[in-house]
């Protein structure tokens, strides 16, 4: 089941508790842990008296979130637009090229190794080249995000589609189903868990793309640039607050995605 280069389709959170108790505690327990963690952090600062440049107490981070929340969220929204577009375009292109690779032998023979090679190479090194050719604006950031989001989807689409059993294909043929019919009714439902697993990786990669492309061009728009600026002023609490804003956006989008995934692949 595992794809060659990605951790796709191997994720399953083990069910630990019974239904109703589980449903409540699944949200309460992580919350309790997070609160305990923050409390321990605050107490740790009180006891050791760490300098707040090195490690600010949660209260200071909270102050930043409270006072500059609009500013942070505004910057994060700019980044989120890049991430969303990059995820959408990269995912779509990845899916389409996965389908093409699987359907046309020639395409597969000619470009699949190149795509696999590009998948495993650290793609961040291409960023300076992209800056050179496309500047430091939205287009460049979108390109970085698409570049990162594209490959896991391609890889997983190919893995999923090539796993469709021969018998199933022959069955649709014998039922006089056309190619399109077979694709829609047999191949796609079979491959969709793989594709969605690829998209889940692509979502994480899009977040990396959005933030990394901004970190490498300080003074630009978006939360990544704000983090770099805060680092220049040793404004540690601002950095941590920014990371928390990114985390909040990330986790919300992750759960949205999981919810969508469950609705789309209800039969699994």
């Amino acid at each position: 089941m595992t794809s060659r280069v990605s951790e796709a389709a191997t994720e399953a959170v083990a069910p630990v508790l019974s239904k109703r108790a589980g449903r409540i505690r699944r949200f309460v327990d992580p919350l309790v842990f997070a609160l305990l963690f923050v409390a321990a952090w605050q107490v740790f600062i009180w006891i050791t008296g760490f300098h707040s440049v090195v490690l600010p107490p949660p209260s200071k981070v909270w102050a930043v979130l409270w006072n500059q929340g609009d500013f942070l969220v505004g910057n994060m929204l700019t980044t989120a637009i890049t991430i969303a577009w990059g995820f959408f375009l990269g995912g779509l292109m990845g899916f389409v090229s996965g389908v093409l690779i699987n359907h046309f032998e020639g395409v597969k023979r000619a470009i699949q190794p190149i795509l696999v090679a590009l998948y495993v190479v650290p793609k961040a090194v291409f960023i300076p080249l992209l800056i050179l050719w496309w500047g430091v604006g939205f287009e460049y950031k979108l390109l970085v995000t698409v570049l990162l989001a594209f490959f896991p989807v391609t890889e997983n689409t190919v893995t999923g589609l090539s796993g469709v059993e021969r018998e199933m294909v022959e069955l649709t043929r014998s039922l006089k189903g056309g190619r399109w019919f077979g694709f829609r009714k047999v191949a796609l439902p079979f491959a969709s868990p793989f594709v969605l697993a690829g998209l889940r990786i692509a979502l994480t990669e899009s977040f990396i793309g959005g933030v990394l492309s901004e970190i490498l061009v300080p003074g630009s728009v978006g939360i990544g640039s704000r983090i770099v600026e805060a680092a220049a002023f040793s404004n540690t609490e601002f950095i941590i607050a920014s990371i928390m804003v990114i985390a909040a956006f990330g986790i919300v989008s992750y759960f949205l995605f999981l919810w969508l995934e469950r609705r789309l692949t209800f039969w699994v």
Binding site: R26, D29, V53, Q112, A124, L212, I243, I246
Partner: protein, 270 residues
């Protein structure tokens, strides 16, 4: 997902399969030639300035000329990579075992870590700069931070996916929990862990290179950024090629390690 008890009689060794695969994909050569021809065409007939698009010849020249720099930077990157991989891997592995044995942590911390995976680790670079300094520290920190999550989750998956029948078997043999972990749980979880190790080596390189690009003091990522700041595009592209090549080598090493350790799983039918 059980243990492949006995590997079946093999008809072709894996490198024979790899060879056949390479032969199957020979049209790739045409595509690569096409790309180089297109590249030359853009320079010769569309008059691209060498700063925007240097000629392949200039890139090759830079590759040859700077070979000592690549070796030197490569050693730095390699060193940081190994340190980051070992630190993050060990931390992730032991945390996963710890979380596995604590029902509370499994319910509370594990979902948090799963959710936290989506946060780009590179955002922590400024923080690591404050904590670990501008030298090797920040790069190792970023790499180990990323690998920690990967190994932790893969180990957690592996441990959770062990066939209950095997555990029953161990219990019926009155194995202690330590023996159960050593003799049954971990070996059965090894394929999932090795997926983490395989990807982890690549993650280590990627994250070290990213940190080198952001912090820019030494290493392969630094060479790319440095060439850019001097507007020496041919050197930049040469350095990109070097990193890409090393990325391929590192991934091949990862595949090899996986192949060597869990061959009994990979060769079995699933």
């Amino acid at each position: 997902m059980g243990i492949g008890a006995l590997s079946p009689a093999r008809t072709a060794s894996w490198w024979e399969k790899a060879g056949r695969r390479l032969w199957y994909h020979w049209p790739v050569v045409l595509v690569l030639i096409g790309i180089v021809v297109f590249w030359i065409f853009m320079i010769e007939w569309r008059d691209f300035h060498p700063i925007v698009l240097p000629s392949p010849g200039a890139v090759i020249e830079a590759l040859v000329e700077n070979r000592i720099d690549y070796v030197r930077a490569g050693f730095v990157t390699f060193y940081e990579m190994i340190l980051g991989f070992m630190a993050g891997g060990a931390l992730g592995f032991f945390s996963a075992v710890g979380i596995f044995y604590s029902p509370f942590l499994r319910r509370s911390l594990y979902p948090l870590l799963l959710g936290f995976r989506i946060v780009p680790k590179v955002a922590f670079v400024p923080l690591f700069l404050v904590w670990f300094g501008i030298g090797v520290g920040v790069k190792v920190a970023l790499a180990s931070f990323a690998i920690f999550f990967l190994i932790l989750i893969q180990t957690g998956l592996g441990l959770a996916g062990v066939d209950p029948a095997l555990i029953e078997l161990g219990r019926s043999l009155r194995m202690s929990e330590v023996a159960l972990l050593r003799r049954i749980r971990l070996p059965a979880a090894l394929p999932a862990i090795m997926v983490g190790v395989k990807l982890g080596i690549t993650y280590a390189l990627t994250n070290v290179v990213v940190a080198e690009m952001v912090v820019a003091t030494e290493g392969l990522g630094f060479l790319v950024v440095e060439a850019r700041s001097f507007i020496k595009t041919h050197e930049m592209i040469a350095a990109i090629f070097v990193v890409a090549f090393i990325g391929l080598v590192v991934f091949a090493v990862g595949l090899w390690v996986e192949r060597k350790t869990v061959f009994w799983y990979l060769d079995a039918d699933h």
